[in-house]
């Protein structure tokens, strides 16, 4: 694991993706009633930005991410990722990391990372090389031969991130990826993620319930309201990068966090 210190802020590059969400709505038809999960959501995300979604539980954050991943189709509106709609999962454009690491327990860490490549029949030697690189990037060099049950929670989530990165997609979606981790691991994982982000230049959409985490990580924080989910605030976090632990106690940090908290309390 490299320390965070000498990380330079990232300059948008070719492997960053642009996301355009226009007037998107999602209605779930259940046996008893229609649930409007999202209504009229519009959001523009520039390539290479780190965007954090926050909002009360059940406001549709996961639903929005599922639609960005092509795992679910919106009932209205359009979603464009690098100028094209996403009617089905496309791992070349979007990598997804879930709250649970969702590693296949019968595969080693390396094989788990290779999994998306194996699905595309990429030759074994190429995929091994890519997996090794990805694992190195997340700081798991030398752990490739282990099975998931031989890894700690934080390490598992690193493998999951490596799996999301292995095809070098321009967009990375993360749904509460660190929620299941203890606070210390969570802090280190946040720093690690920033390092990886800075090194690769992806566009990241990150969902969390932790306001501290949101402000600490983000370029922009998008605040959503309770059902039906709408965007109620969109702030730019102007704190300089690299972010440091000392900033957490600073005045700017507090003000930003308060502002988000007030929105969430009002709508929940």
């Amino acid at each position: 694991m490299q320390p965070l210190a000498n990380v330079t802020p990232f300059k948008p590059g070719s492997r960053a993706g642009a996301i355009q969400i226009s007037n998107v709505g999602q209605v779930f038809k259940t046996a008893t009633q229609d649930v409007v999960a999202l209504s009229d959501v519009s959001l523009d995300i520039k390539p290479g930005r780190f965007v954090v979604l926050v909002g009360p539980s059940g406001c549709g954050k996961s639903t929005l991410l599922m639609m960005l991943a092509g795992l679910r189709q919106q009932t209205s509106g359009t979603i464009l990722i690098n100028e094209a709609p996403i009617p089905q999962p496309d791992p070349n454009r979007v990598g997804v990391i879930f709250q649970e690491p969702s590693l296949f327990p019968w595969l080693t860490a390396e094989e788990n990372v290779e999994f998306p490549l194996a699905l595309r029949r990429i030759p074994r030697s190429d995929r091994r090389a890519k997996a090794v690189d990805a694992l190195k990037l997340v700081g798991l060099e030398g752990f490739g031969k282990r099975h998931p049950h031989e890894l700690s929670g934080g390490m598992k989530q690193r493998v999951s991130i490596a799996r999301g990165l292995v095809q070098d997609p321009p967009v990375l979606l993360m749904d509460e990826p660190f929620a299941a981790l203890d606070e210390q691991t969570r802090m280190t994982m946040g720093d690690e993620l920033l390092r990886i982000w800075a090194a690769t230049g992806k566009t990241v959409v990150f969902v969390t319930h932790s306001l501290t985490e949101a402000v600490y990580l983000a370029d922009e924080v998008v605040v959503m309201s309770a059902r039906p989910g709408r965007i109620v605030d969109h702030l730019t976090i102007s704190l300089p990068r690299p972010r440091t632990y000392e900033m957490l106690g600073g005045e700017t940090f507090g003000t930003l966090r308060d502002r988000i908290w007030r929105h969430i309390r009002k709508s929940a």
């Binding site: 791992p91 879930f98 296949f104 019968w106 999994f115 699905l119 099975h147 998931p148």
Partner: protein
């Protein structure tokens, strides 16, 4: 003393008691002939026992093919389709209450007293638990794994071969363990009831002429078969179970099957 040592000691002393008690006349040789005379009886008629073993093994093998193949297939179908599952599972577990052995006379009428009736009976005997545990195994697959595979662009058939089947393996294996054990039971029981060949047949025939050593030589052979089967399954499980610790659900299903909560009566 460690538990394993004591356990070995118990097994060894049981074997020794089997030899000593009849020899010392504590137990009449008619009820329990000593181990040495049992082995001698089996050795002297090794040809007969060998032939019987071949017949029994053949029946066990074919039944296992039907019971386990059919059970895994049916279980996979029932387990992955929610509606048939809700419809069928309670009926199947209700069927468990029926002493299936009463079906054997029906099979002898239909198929005669040769191998066919034994195979039919044993296959049905082993089918249900294999099917139930496979269905349980498919159900306990973490839906999050399927979602993750889908997010990586896995097609339907890739999800089946690369996620569903490997994830179901531990539960299917414990189904095989129970199903296979029941197939052995089914074959031996049916041979003992009405038949003209096999180890069960030898046990029954020597019983009617009160030749205890020969009866127990058969019993010993069946015990050896059960031990061999258990060892084989353990070996397969070890080979396939590097990751078993990873799925609590699958482990619990396996435990339940082992504890007999979803297992029909063995006779």
């Amino acid at each position: 003393m460690s538990a394993a040592t004591l356990r070995r000691l118990i097994v060894v002393s049981l074997v020794v008691l089997w030899e000593l008690l009849p020899r010392l006349g504590v137990i009449p040789e008619l009820f329990l002939p000593s181990l040495s005379s049992t082995i001698a009886a089996g050795w002297n008629d090794a040809g007969e026992y060998g032939h019987a073993l071949a017949v029994t093994l053949y029946e066990v093998g074919v039944s296992m093919l039907f019971a386990c193949g059919g059970g895994i297939l049916a279980g996979a179908i029932v387990g992955s389709l929610p509606r048939p599952r809700v419809l069928i599972m309670p009926m199947v577990s209700s069927l468990y209450a029926v002493p299936l052995v009463i079906l054997y006379p029906v099979f002898t009428v239909w198929l005669g007293i040769g191998s066919e009736s034994k195979i039919a009976f044993a296959a049905i005997y082993g089918f249900l638990p294999t099917m139930l545990s496979t269905a349980a195994g498919i159900q306990t697959i973490d839906p999050q794994l399927l979602l993750a595979a889908r997010s990586m662009g896995a097609t339907l058939s890739q999800r089946l071969t690369r996620v569903i089947i490997p994830a179901a393996i531990p539960t299917v294996l414990s189904g095989l363990r129970v199903g296979g054990a029941l197939v052995i039971v089914g074959v031996v029981v049916s041979e003992m009831l009405i038949s003209s060949a096999g180890i069960g047949y030898l046990i029954s025939r020597y019983r009617t002429i009160l030749d205890s050593p020969h009866v127990f030589a058969g019993v010993l052979l069946v015990l050896a078969m059960a031990i061999a089967f258990n060892a084989a399954i353990k070996w397969i499980e070890r080979k396939a179970s590097i990751w078993q610790t990873g799925t609590r659900e699958g482990q619990r299903a396996a435990d339940e099957i082992q504890a007999g909560t979803i297992q029909p009566a063995t006779a």
